[in-house]
């Protein structure tokens, strides 16, 4: 179980519109995007909740990727449904409607084997729930969390308590600024480090990502993409590649391993934006990933 990853987060239906088209009630949610990506490297178990309307083909798609759904509760009612639209820049989503539905009653209870997973990813949910889940785990060797602007303004105290207990925080750059009241990302990262996490990863969309560990910083560019069809879930897909790679490694406390994890996160998220929902990541082969990874690594080699 040391390599198994537990992800706790949303399983959703997404209706998304971008300049390249639209989807209606497509498979989405942070736990789903994360799992599609992480399962390329290590076994993943989802803890989440769906309604009775959750389509069987979506369940099968996840299972085909060896994602364990035994912790995915089915409650009477409808699945979480998000409707959004992206502007031409494909950066900022405008939420048209959020129907939490059964997700409103999500209160994860863990038992073995879930509580015994070696690696935990707390996707973007209420920090009270994130802390509750963390307290139910029996000694994971790596814990990571994500969050969002909503929780930073609404439940900052609870979030800060969580940060004192996790190894790794994923945030985007605006969230990092909001959380620390520092505009400069190096200063923001130093403040976050003082809150607890040994590692902070700042996700910057098409500007790449930055990793902070032990007072050092690494910046990596995004892989340029000619046609960004749908950026939904790119951040969770990044986290999935990153955490997935670390889960498959014997240890994560060194820069060489962390840089590879960043590169895999970058590569996986570059696939995810090429199509709607999990169309691209759901059918991805290991060969495609390794091919793009090698090219990405080579592009950064200056000799």
């Amino acid at each position: 179980m040391k390599n198994a990853i537990l992800v706790v987060g949303s399983v959703a239906l997404d209706s998304v519109q971008t300049i390249y088209g639209r989807t209606s009630r497509a498979l989405g949610g942070s736990a789903v995007h994360f799992s599609m990506s992480a399962s390329q490297f290590a076994p993943v178990k989802i803890v989440g909740v769906v309604g009775e309307d959750f389509p069987v083909p979506f369940r099968r798609l996840l299972q085909r990727r060896n994602i364990c759904l035994k912790g995915m509760q089915v409650l009477p009612g409808k699945t979480f449904h998000w409707t959004g639209r992206y502007d031409r820049g494909l950066k900022n989503a405008v939420t048209i409607a959020t129907h939490l539905n059964v997700f409103e009653y999500f209160k994860p209870k863990l038992a073995p084997p879930h509580s015994e997973c070696g690696v935990l990813f707390l996707a973007n949910i209420d920090p009270d729930l994130q802390r509750d889940v963390l307290s139910q785990m029996s000694g994971p060797r790596l814990t990571a969390c994500d969050t969002m602007n909503y929780w930073i303004s609404l439940k900052k105290k609870s979030l800060v308590k969580l940060l004192a207990k996790v190894n790794l925080l994923f945030v985007n750059e605006e969230e990092a600024r909001q959380l620390t009241q520092e505009h400069n990302l190096l200063k923001a990262a130093r403040r976050i480090a003082a809150m607890g996490p040994q590692i902070t990863v700042i996700k910057r969309g098409d500007s790449g990502s930055m990793l902070f560990y032990g007072g050092e910083v690494i910046a990596m560019p995004a892989r340029p993409i000619e046609k960004v069809v749908d950026p939904t879930g790119a951040g969770d897909t990044f986290a999935g590649g990153f955490i997935g790679y670390l889960a498959a490694c014997p240890g994560w406390r060194n820069f060489r391993v962390l840089k590879r994890a960043m590169a895999y996160g970058t590569v996986l998220s570059s696939f995810s934006v090429e199509d709607f929902s999990v169309k691209r990541t759901g059918g991805l082969s290991k060969a495609e990933i390794n091919d793009r990874y090698k090219k990405y690594v080579k592009s950064l080699l200056i000799d």
Copy 2:
């Protein structure tokens, strides 16, 4: 003369205000920022114009860096003076006043040895002047130009004619979009390549840079900086490091050389933003540059 760089552009006095302080009538201008950076690698000759008020210490500072000022005309009147302010994000400058002064009458006439330089950098000036200068050169082996939003809206036809004749274009991302009407930077770069330049470098500030050459793209991150004091001239300093490195190489038509040039541009511009005016780049040692260069290259090595 094959390695000598001719830069044609503004020599200015800048009054700049940022959250870290202000300067009054400090040394600035595109040709100056470029030269400070490029002269670390190859001999540089400035063709420009100043007024009778141009301070002697500034002239000495440039000459101490072995920047040739024989092509820097002195006209009756005052030196180009720009007054600007940056917001907290230190990304966008607000121009408070632009006094072109003698720069309004800038009409460069080249003679040997200036016209025989092997490398030409046409800094951001009227594209009609840029073309005129280019036509006065006797067979340079590398020609590069910069431009800005103002010329793209006002003199696009002339700019497009220039682009058909240069090897390399430096633009920032908004200019690339404005010039091509393409939001996606890969698409924009493809359109620019169709206009003529073999190489396009898109400067993205703290998001790094992208280089396009022969249908391939390389993205590099900016070096993270904890205290960006003044971003004025960072783009020209980047171009200076880039072109300076290429000028010192026997050939530029290969990716390994171009990547090193990008890395030097990145490193030089990372110094330039650490203080006002050319305070940082004016006193930079080769050892400081090489030290930061090595660390930057190592940070991008994923093994």
